[in-house]
Symmetry: D2
Subunit: 345 residues, 4 copies
């Protein structure tokens, strides 16, 4: 078993890391680190555990340590669920101290020498680690996963991109409140309400999508326009996607491409890889957030209502994925599994 | 005072007609008609009044009559809040019996000789009444308002259309549960959920938008693509709109065009006309459904977040309007006011 | 494996029966029966499956049959999720045809010769089957589980009743929308709302509680007063309980009694028996509906905030249980397991 | 017009004070005070106005001043919407500086020499001001209104208390999120959830109810037991109340007492006094939070489902009132109106 530290372990994404790593065949949480406020308390006390599965017993009684590479000892991998404002410097310190940091934070995602992996799509980008180590003069590494809404979006885009090409795309999101962490969105802001703004999200969706679907050295050159909205759901980001393809793309052919799509995680049978990265539903009113977000144990994007788009000339469809599993901790763990198999850890 | 009948008076939109007509300076509800089930009961008993203002006293004790032109006597105007399946034939019967029917139902909206009025935009389409009477050989008339989501959308489109031209547009909606009537959407379908499908809605948005922004005889020739979603809000349809303009349209110029926009209802000072059909907000996270749906007494569309759209090359923005007021009964009443001023009633 | 029929299999509780029986070690669903409307369609088509786990493959393709003892062949046990209006006569027919009917319907619950089992509490009431068979002259049997809110309530009452005695109790409920079935509660009735009325529920809580905590022949003689309310939660009934005990009952002693409480299902290690029927939490703001309803796989009642009650002189506490699992299908299955072990099936 | 300062004007209750005082016939907001963070900004900037009516123009451009009796000049009355932790000392300073402080904060409510007025019930308690001034050696005064849930509860209790006597009562609440202020309750804590705990609330309901229904010098001696729960509603506290009366109280007689109940505010025709402090509804499923909270412009308690209580031997019923209007700012303003008429201001 590889020993893992979780940084920012008491927050919502940190808790999902702890939850998903409970019983993991390769990784074992041996260190939980969080901010000053939690230091010295047990994880159970500090985390105010808010998941609907019980707090893993082995972790519950651990003492929370500082988010400091000197306080974290004897671990083989570091998972970062830090807020971005903190993550930038801290993750560099850990990489500099020799750790492989698998991060959900946005701080380093767009750095040209940092892989941002949605591993079914672009795990070849791990090649950037070499450049990163050379330029930054460290033995560790920083590897990131994309923003939650981008992760959910790019899975079904990949087979379209490969088979039909993409010129441009427009996407409107209906995102769950868990995406804002805890306490996050105030209840007075979301009951009987929609908030048509999520700070930084539209820019992330537009730039991260290009980086993921590009090569390690060059972003894809299609245009992306997004509009991001917060709705009153617990988990699960729904997205209405309109795609202009390079080649004519009939809905049936697009569905077939999605259903046949598998990536390296499936071929390598990584423990957290869903059987199908994209699941296509044909029911007229699906996917629905509450009913479908756990498909593929929360690691698949469910696509429905694939139909012709009269404006962009390609297809439009609905995509749904679990924002804190596939869109955050689950994707990070899948990345770590890939890194292990490829001997980076 | 003109005497008004409300058909389908016990349903949700029927109740909004009764609510908005309470204290109206020109119209007075003197007849309430509903289906067999309600016949002979008082309106109070039959309606299970579900609005947050009290049931108007004058109407509460009226006996509900049949939805039949022979049962409705001595009225000057007929408001129809009938379900579309019923409305087609019934509204023809009333028009045939000489009544002017102002309808919220979709049954006749797309008939080429029936005006579908969002009156700030296309009240000149009332000219179709003449053709309608000639072809259908009746003295009455059917005049409709658009679908709720289309009404909200077309108000801000009109100033763009006039000043910059429109080549195409993409719109994703987040629609309130009241749009489905009562009982309508099951609570198990909407708590912690989004339903990415509303029967017939996308087709309505695409075709009705073209008819409203066209001339009386010819729909506008831009392309429209929509994706419609039901979210957990009581009232208020939010829409993320992406527009390809013919001429270059800077966000500031678009905002100015919207703010300056007025139509005939404003010029004629019709009682239900909002001061501004379109209200522009500059706060970064507005409009919000619960906070802004009652702007202009529920008769305005509130627009926010006007920004450049990198894909279609025009602008993208958020629009919000009240679906059962501007998008249904309120628009119908505004149409009736226009018809009265123009001597059709 | 015993072959099981589920009557009313397409409704919400019917679906939970099918879901919970999937992979059950003793019972296998071989027949699904539903109303006329569903007859001849596959279960997949007819059920519009609405659970967040996938529809069990083995059942998905079964043809739905009539709710008629002549249409149901070759089964060893019949689970009834029928609406009460239908259940009365149908369940008698099945019992008369020799089947053991394990029913969630209220129709026969209060019949003096029908056991209403919450099996940790009163499985000795199965003795009524003998009387039932003699009086009704049938070889089958009808065994019921209590109303959902009563099931959740009576688990923590039992250890209080046994150790301290109960003179009276007052309970106010906050019940989930799934308790009303599908479509059930209209969304316009529950978003930003509480409905302080559930038809028949208060009477059920008051009479069923007495029957369960009594002997097979005589209800318990304490008084019960309830007030039932519907709130906007998907699953999980929360109850604020105030108990007047016969003997002085300190909160700590009550908690200890609850924690030590086990019943026959635990002793017999029945497959669906939770390890603990009652789980006591000491966190100041728990149990919470969404976070705690799945404790004990949805088969436990979670109790929190046990404190002295200054009015009744005993204790007050919060109880929470899963209404469609422990409160309906799960309790029915646990009853069936007990009946099998006791050779009634 | 009397000039009014609002302390804590940017918070949720502060905003309701500003909203309700807009257009008030006697009081005019001339000073808005808030914490350090807001100082020097306009009220519009500082408040992030979150009400569904527009921000009053006259107040929007005012500069926010310090919460300090030296910064507040030239006002005739001070309304306090301060958090309790701050209110204790600050309100004393203002009273000491000669101001009459009408406070919604809990800090001084239970002080024996501070009136806690729900004015239909106990406005005679203003006599405590004399004692307060004497003991505290100040010219000003502190007058409070009760906690929101207590205000709603005590209105219907008063006619029962007067006509039938009260020995004890049990109450379970279902309270709106606005009661916790803004940001207050995290959305992850309330969507698809109930929280069975509100810090300090149960103690407040139990002690404040006794003080209000007692004389100025002595609390009423009946016992109160409460259980407080937060549910997913925006505004409106619902309460399930069980009352043990001294004299036999038939539901019809209780309803009649409630309907006939008026207090000093009605007799004095105070501007904010509702026509009826208690409105009785006979519909079987009312009052409902969203539909009935604005009865009496949010100043009445609506009571429904009055029925016999088999445990306490009196009656049980449902009470609903608007927590930020009747339960906070509206009650404060009504108190101020009474104080003005009685020449305390």
């Amino acid at each position: 078993m590889l020993k893992a530290a979780v940084l920012g372990a008491t927050g919502n994404v940190g808790q999902i890391f702890v939850q998903l790593l409970d019983g993991h065949p390769w990784f074992e949480v041996t260190t939980v680190a969080a901010s000053e406020r939690s230091k010295g308390r047990t994880y159970n006390e500090a985390s105010r555990w808010r998941q609907s599965t019980p707090i893993p017993e082995a972790v519950a009684q651990m003492e929370v340590v500082d988010i400091d590479s000197r306080a974290v000892k004897d671990v083989d991998i570091v998972f970062s669920a830090l807020p971005s404002a903190v993550a930038g410097k801290v993750e560099e310190d850990f990489a500099s101290a020799g750790y492989v940091v698998v991060s959900n934070a946005s701080a380093h995602r767009m750095d040209p020498d940092v892989p941002m992996l949605n591993p079914e799509i672009n795990c070849s980008h791990v090649s950037l680690i070499e450049e990163q180590r050379r330029k930054r003069k460290w033995d560790g590494a920083i590897v990131t996963n994309p923003n939650c809404s981008t992760t959910v979006l790019t899975l079904p885009l990949k087979p379209i991109f490969d088979e039909f090409g993409i010129n441009s795309l427009i996407v409107s999101t209906m995102q769950a409140i868990s995406g804002a962490g805890y306490p996050g969105v105030a209840s007075l802001d979301i009951v009987d309400n929609v908030i048509p703004f999520i700070g930084g999200e539209e820019n992330k969706m537009e730039t991260e999508t290009q980086k993921i679907l590009g090569t390690a050295s060059k972003p894809a050159d299609f245009k992306v326009s997004s509009s991001c909205h917060r709705v009153s759901t617990i988990d699960g980001h729904m997205e209405a996607v309109f795609v202009e393809t390079k080649k004519k793309a009939e809905p049936n052919a697009v569905a077939e491409a999605m259903e046949n799509f598998v990536g390296e995680p499936q071929k390598l049978k990584l423990p957290s890889a869903p059987e199908k990265p994209v699941i296509v539903t044909w029911e007229k009113d699906r996917p629905q957030t509450r009913l479908d977000r756990m498909e593929g144990k929360g690691m698949s994007t469910v696509v429905g209502r694939i139909r012709k788009d009269p404006v962009l000339g390609g297809v439009k469809f609905i995509a749904l994925g679990h924002n804190t599993i596939r869109g955050a901790a689950g994707c990070g763990i899948l990345n770590a599994e890939y890194l292990k198999v490829k001997k980076f850890i």
